[in-house]
Amino acid sequence: MRHAPIATLKIASAVVFLLALLVAVPLLINATGRTDLYYTLTSVALLSIISAGVWITFYIGRINIGQGAYALMGGYVSAILVMNYGMSFWLTLPLAGLFCAAASVLIGLPILRLRGVYFAMVSLVLTEVARLLALALPITNGASGIVSIPLPSRLSLFGLTLIPDFATLANPRLSFYIASVLLMALCFLGLYRLAHSRIGQLCQSLQQNEELASSIGVNIAYLRVVAYALSSFLGGVGGAMFASISQSIYPSSFTVADSVNFMLNCFLGGLGYVLGPMLGTFVLYFGWDLLFQTGEFQLLIFSTALIVLMLVLPNGLLSLALPRKRSL
């Protein structure tokens, strides 16, 4: 009971944040006429979902630089199902996630036994494998990719229209934005629940010492496959949504650089915080966009800022908000 006021405060602030995103931001955009911001913000929402997946693998003490592989896979699964089998996009969204989760169980069983840099390096290679596979497989249409994917169609349940047909809407950008923000909210709500549940605690025990966790009866093999599958699920969903928004997917839609960025988002926000990936994605994406005006110096300024940030706040941006404890 002691925590009740804090919990209400948290719920209230989450609701306010969501309302701000869903109501205030569109109003502001309408007022200023900067409709291009919809696309930017949608991207941030989706990228933070994908980064949230990476965060889960960090939570079990693995450095995951292979999330791009699952995002690419999810994008292709959704695109192929929509194009070749005429399925509704909204149905392919969870299917893409599930496909990635299943694939990640198969891939994860052997490679999750690796630790530290070994896992990091293998996962880095995974993105490259996905790209080469997308180039080589016949169903993915090789280097030309899959283009002109139709916009998401109507989703109705018992004759009730839940989601209207995006193609008939006056402003599909806004609807994509709202869908992405809702998806992001759902994802981070789940993540928060997970991190504060029993499984979350067990995951933390894996992060600290796997042998010890195993010795007191934690099924570490099962737990890390589950965590990795969850992580890939989020990657797949995010990738599928991206393919739908850009209405195309290519083997180079998600590359090693993207995988590294997903990892950086988590680091930048702070690995110890659930909201870390969201904040990290926002700062990284907007920082990069803002620096676009500096032209050829964009990358130079961006990387210098990253290095300085790392020197000043090695535990992530969110470590600013918490009381500073002297660590060893």
């Binding site: 960090f58 450095i63 891939i107 052997p110 490679i111 036994r113 690796l114 630790r115 530290g116 840099v117 070994y118 990091a120 390096m121 293998v122 880095l124 290679v125 490259e128 494998v129 080469l132 596979l133 180039l135 080589a136 090693v256 650089a257 590294v260 990892m263 950086l264 680091f267 930048l268 690995l271 110890g272 050829e296 110096f297 964009q298 990358l299 130079l300 961006f302 990387s303 210098t304 990253l306 290095i307 790392m310 020197l311 090695p314 535990n315 660590s327």
Partner: protein, 288 residues
């Protein structure tokens, strides 16, 4: 087939030298140096400037590449990695730093040298031709230099005082410190040495394949592959990994040519299978 083996050996010698630097840095600092490929490219550009533009002898250019990178690596360790390692709660934070450094080097090289592919005049012309093997002389020379460098590095690590100190550090940092090894100094020397190796290979290879500012990333991935094959943080493993990858690439490009560009796909698949049987590479410590 002899041609394929000769190509493989030549590639392997280059690769081994790249992997050596990466594995050394990892063994000493537990840092996965994402910027290794970019360091290689920087070495290539230094050689391009001195040998290709200023027309000084190739040896001078090579030494300059090594020295530049050694200084750069030493400074990077002292001012970037050391403070971050000391202050961050999780070791992985250094990866962000390494990635940021990679971006930084990419940006600097893009500004200084542009996007174009840069090549230099041949060191020696002529081609060695026998009835089975055809190899240009400059490739042979570069291969021989690479092998000599590997040998020198091994001897240095085995018999010199800094070499012994670094091996002790790699085995157990705390124990080495208790035995009176100056941990900070040798970490810096090790980082500088690793960076120097990357720079020298860059300088060697620019004389054959040329260099452009975008190839740092792919080179890093190849270096990671080699280190994984051999085992992270093990000098012998890096050399073995380098030669194995060089050989596989050379054989794969010949054998799989008719199936399209799938050599690396096959190599990755083999690597996954190999790692699921032996998670710590050929010679790595378990959970290095």
């Amino acid at each position: 087939m002899e041609q394929v083996i000769a190509n493989g050996l030549y590639l392997g010698a280059q690769y081994a030298l790249i992997a050596l630097g990466l594995t050394l840095i990892f063994a000493l600092m537990n840092v996965l140096n994402f910027a290794h490929g970019q360091m290689y490219v920087l070495g290539g550009f230094v050689t391009y400037t001195i040998y290709g533009q200023l027309k000084l002898p190739f040896v001078v250019a090579l030494i300059c590449s090594g020295v530049t990178l050694a200084i750069f690596g030493g400074l990077m360790e002292k001012f970037l990695f050391r403070p971050v390692v000391r202050r961050s709660k999780r070791e992985e934070s250094t990866m962000l730093l390494a990635a940021a450094t990679a971006f930084f080097l990419d940006a600097v090289m893009l500004l200084l040298f542009g996007e174009k592919q840069r090549g230099v005049p041949k060191i020696i012309s002529g081609v060695f031709v026998s009835d089975r093997v055809i190899l240009p002389y400059d490739r042979i020379l570069v291969g021989v230099i690479a092998i000599l460098m590997i040998a020198a590095f091994m001897l240095f690590m085995q018999y010199s005082k800094p070499g012994r100190a670094m091996r002790a550090l790699a085995q157990d940092r705390v124990a080495a410190q208790l035995m009176g090894v100056k941990v900070e100094r040798y970490s810096m020397i090790g980082f500088a040495l690793g960076a120097m190796l990357a720079g020298v290979v860059g300088g060697l290879l620019v004389s054959i394949t040329g260099v452009n500012s975008g190839i740092g990333g792919p080179i890093s991935i190849k270096a990671f592959l080699m280190v994984m094959i051999g085992g992270a943080g093990v000098v012998g493993g890096a050399i073995a990994g380098g030669f194995i990858l060089g050989m596989m690439e050379s054989v794969g490009l010949t054998v799989l040519r008719e199936y399209g560009d799938i050599t690396y796909l096959v190599i990755f698949a083999l690597l996954m299978i190999f790692l699921s049987i032996r998670p710590h590479g050929l010679m790595g410590k378990p959970w290095g």
